[in-house]
Point group: C2
Chain length 313, copies 2
Amino acid sequence: MASILVVGSVAYDSVETPFGKVDHALGGSATFFSVAASFFAEVKLVACVGGDFSQDDLKLFQSRNIDLTGLQRVDGKTFRWSGRYGYDLNDAETLDTQLNVFADFHPQIPEAHRDCDYVFLGNIDPALQRQVLSQVKSPKLIVLDTMNFWISGTYKSLKQTLALVNVLVINDAETRQLAQEPNLVKAARKILSWGPHTLVIKRGEYGVLMFQKNSPDPELSAFGVPGYPLEEVFDPTGAGDSFAGGFVGYLAGVDRQDTRAMRQAIIFGSVMASFNVEKFSLNRLKELTFTEVGLRYKEFRRLTHFDDLEEEY
Amino acid sequence: MASILVVGSVAYDSVETPFGKVDHALGGSATFFSVAASFFAEVKLVACVGGDFSQDDLKLFQSRNIDLTGLQRVDGKTFRWSGRYGYDLNDAETLDTQLNVFADFHPQIPEAHRDCDYVFLGNIDPALQRQVLSQVKSPKLIVLDTMNFWISGTYKSLKQTLALVNVLVINDAETRQLAQEPNLVKAARKILSWGPHTLVIKRGEYGVLMFQKNSPDPELSAFGVPGYPLEEVFDPTGAGDSFAGGFVGYLAGVDRQDTRAMRQAIIFGSVMASFNVEKFSLNRLKELTFTEVGLRYKEFRRLTHFDDLEEEY
């Protein structure tokens, strides 16, 4: 089992959906990622929190055996985000963002983490993402997350970071925006010419699409899986990060990066995202068992399986 | 091989997309359905056209061995629709609708067609759909299409028709509207309590989701498949009807209605829809070969396949 270095945000979220609300609940991209990934591999978290960060939340990380050597505690308050979702649960409306201690975050990778084989660069300034990469030795796989804010604000810098990574995980609107191309296949071809060999496109309730380069073959290979149909979706916050956690977690867990493992990793990512949205904040992932994870993987097989054709076709 | 009775519209469409335009091209729900279904089974078309309907278009139906005994030619002009799509190609903006001879269409099922085993009720007034059902003997499978216009305008009548059919094929917005429920699983449960045992939800570029009742088990079984990622989409007109044609066509072709066949039928529907959008009007389906259909079915296997887990999971 290989280990994963994750760099990103740890936050307190206040979230309102048509089904309820939570105040100052544990959140942040690196939090959802770490907890989801911890089901599969050893996770080393690099992030920063303020003096207000609670002992209970520290204990949650510790209960998942997440290495907190790289978690900086600094004077000030932890990053806070508050948002609201309507009935369609697709887009969050941000009500307030207070960067607090996150505004001056400069990731310092502890010496003991620099030889990590798997690196997940959470959604932070692309220049900081490159600072992380300059501190690590020679990872087997570097996975990048980003968002519309960095695509529109730091396009050139983001392209420099893209040139250094293997896998990009973004949603479909971000894919179109980054490539400046409405067709997803053309957009994928363009983005994959800039560095990554794999593009993973998150589509919310519609599932995930993965494109991979197989040079010298000019054709991209594609893999798609629908979202798991859920009867109760309480809080979509962190779904994308839980997806990334399951995805990178499984790859590190089996320590393979071939297409077979990549496809299975997409399913584990989808499994973790589908659990995460069933309750507010980390509440579902906290109580989740590995048996449930395995069962839902099998559910994904049942959801998507169809047979080959008989002879006559 | 069983045969299919299809009742619906034959039209002349004028369509504009960012990639070009066509004027007065052959279209209509029953047209796309029939041509797609004709790759798999014998199709008997019941529809009406005006005196302006061209010999070339008649020949297209004949070239696909579509039985035209039930095609009424009446005085007046054929149904005309004109619409426009933007870059996202999801929603058509209707520019003009001229029902013409279709306004007085009362489906007459020829005696020879009344013992058809498979019936597809295209998107027409639910009261007319019931008139069709009152003329047929005892089909093995009745598949229904409808749209927002009938859901909002003839809700009660539509529910009466629903009680008489086995499979409903609609899109996700129509599913939510019909059930008055934003969650798709809950919406499916509600709709399936009204009659049909199967609900097929078309989601455009995101693929298809199928829910089935397995009484006495209260859990619905679900099957999902992503859309085929296409690099060139020229004209989405008729994609839903081509889907239905491939779906019902395959079921009639193998003359089975078990879940295994239903899932394979969903793939053939997706195959036919994916070809249909590659060119304007019927231009792609016209030139399509059965070998291409079989190859794309295999592509769908490649697109969606992932392996079971190893022992350790």
